[in-house]
């Protein structure tokens, strides 16, 4: 599963990374993320990374094309679930 991670490096700089994480490691990753400092490379294959609070728009588009990922996936799924729930009520 492709995941975009945004946050601060050990030295306090803003950084981001695209990473492929195995499903059975995902919960462990979320726990590490909630706990604080962690090494992202321990949880999956880093596809690309860079400095800055957000990946540049050009890179986002490139990643979407290359990996068929969507930066709006969460929202799309939550909207779809809400729509289905609304139909049922």
């Amino acid at each position: 599963m492709c995941v975009l991670v945004k946050g601060l490096s050990a030295s306090g700089e803003a950084q981001y990374a695209y990473v492929a994480i195995a499903f059975d490691k995902y919960e462990e990753f979320l726990k590490a993320e909630a706990a604080g400092s962690y090494d992202l490379s321990a949880f999956g294959t880093i596809l690309c990374h860079g400095l800055g609070a957000e990946p540049p728009i050009e890179l986002q588009k490139e990643m979407e094309e290359k990996y068929d990922i969507s930066h709006d996936l969460e929202q799309q799924i939550m909207d779809a679930l809400d729509a289905i729930k609304a139909e049922n009520t």
Binding site: S9, A17, E33, L40, I46, K66, Y67, L73, K85
Partner: protein, 281 residues
């Protein structure tokens, strides 16, 4: 290696598409020798598996799932409304509506099976069998069997969901047990049955090994299905934010992943049966 590391350290560098991780391959117990073509096709992605990565430390972060990493699974997930059906099924879980759950997840299974068999001409995970070739392996009766088996695999997950919905440990355990044992039954063969069906064209030691491989793969898939459903359930029970939302999204993707692997297993078995039938003519 040094060169790879240097490339990886460059911000914004994109690596080739991923193949299955070693862990994933190990989990399903796949040990078949790949064809030369398959080895060549996966050469780039294989380079990533098991390579040592430089550490990338975050002192604080937030994350969002963006999709599936494997290109074949992406095709399954984003073609023919598969995810929509899964969502309908999962909304049934959220609303404690077993009928909606069954229709959604069952439709997803049939939909993806149909798509894989009839439309997908790309190599499937692990097997490197082009979809059209898979279709040629299956005559109409086998197609029906194929649909029924995949629907059965997914539908059986509903037994576990029923346990989860009731919230009682006993039912959850029973549901989990059923899906694991049923996962083996989906192949339509007991261990003895497998050995007999493989008997015609495989040596004794090969029969035993093949039988174990498939049995182990189904058991692993059953376990993975449980893990995926538990992730979805955990996500649905939360407040719909932060970690709960992440668990929900990843659970859905996990479910898609497991379904694709189940289909791959069915195709592998069909391939062996076809080979046997051809030799028997």
């Amino acid at each position: 290696m040094l060169e790879e590391t240097a490339i990886q350290n460059q911000p914004g560098t994109i690596k080739p598409p991923l193949s299955f991780s070693e862990r994933e391959i190990a989990r399903i117990g796949h040990i078949d020798k790949p064809s030369k073509e398959a080895v060549a096709a996966e050469k780039n992605s294989d380079k990533q598996v098991g390579t040592t990565q430089p550490p990338l430390v975050f002192s604080k972060s937030e994350s969002i799932p963006l999709g599936l990493a494997n290109k074949i699974l992406r095709k399954i997930a984003y073609t023919g409304g598969f995810v929509s059906y899964i969502l309908i099924g999962l909304s049934g879980v959220a609303n404690k509506n077993p009928w909606r759950t069954a229709s959604g997840i069952g439709s997803a299974a049939l939909n993806v099976t149909s798509m894989l068999v009839k439309e997908n001409d790309q190599a499937l995970p692990h097997t490197s069998i082009p979809g059209q070739m898979v279709h040629s392996y299956l005559h109409p009766q086998e197609n029906t069997l194929f649909f029924n088996r995949s629907a059965s695999f997914i539908t059986d997950a509903l037994k576990l969901i029923a346990g989860l919905q009731s919230g009682r440990d006993k039912e959850i355990k029973e549901g989990a047990f059923k899906i694991i044992t049923k996962s083996i039954d989906i192949a339509g063969m007991s261990d003895q049955d497998r050995r007999e069906r493989l008997a015609l064209h495989h040596k004794k030691e090969e029969r035993s090994l093949l039988s174990k491989i498939f049995a182990n793969r189904w058991v692993s898939l059953g376990s993975s299905t449980i893990a995926a459903i538990l992730q979805v359930q955990q996500g649905l029970e939360g407040d719909g934010k932060g970690k709960d939302k992440n668990m929900l999204i990843s659970g859905i993707l996990y479910f898609v992943n497991v379904s694709a692997l189940a289909l791959d297993n069915l195709i592998m078995e069909s391939k062996i049966k076809k080979t046997r039938d051809d030799k028997g003519r």
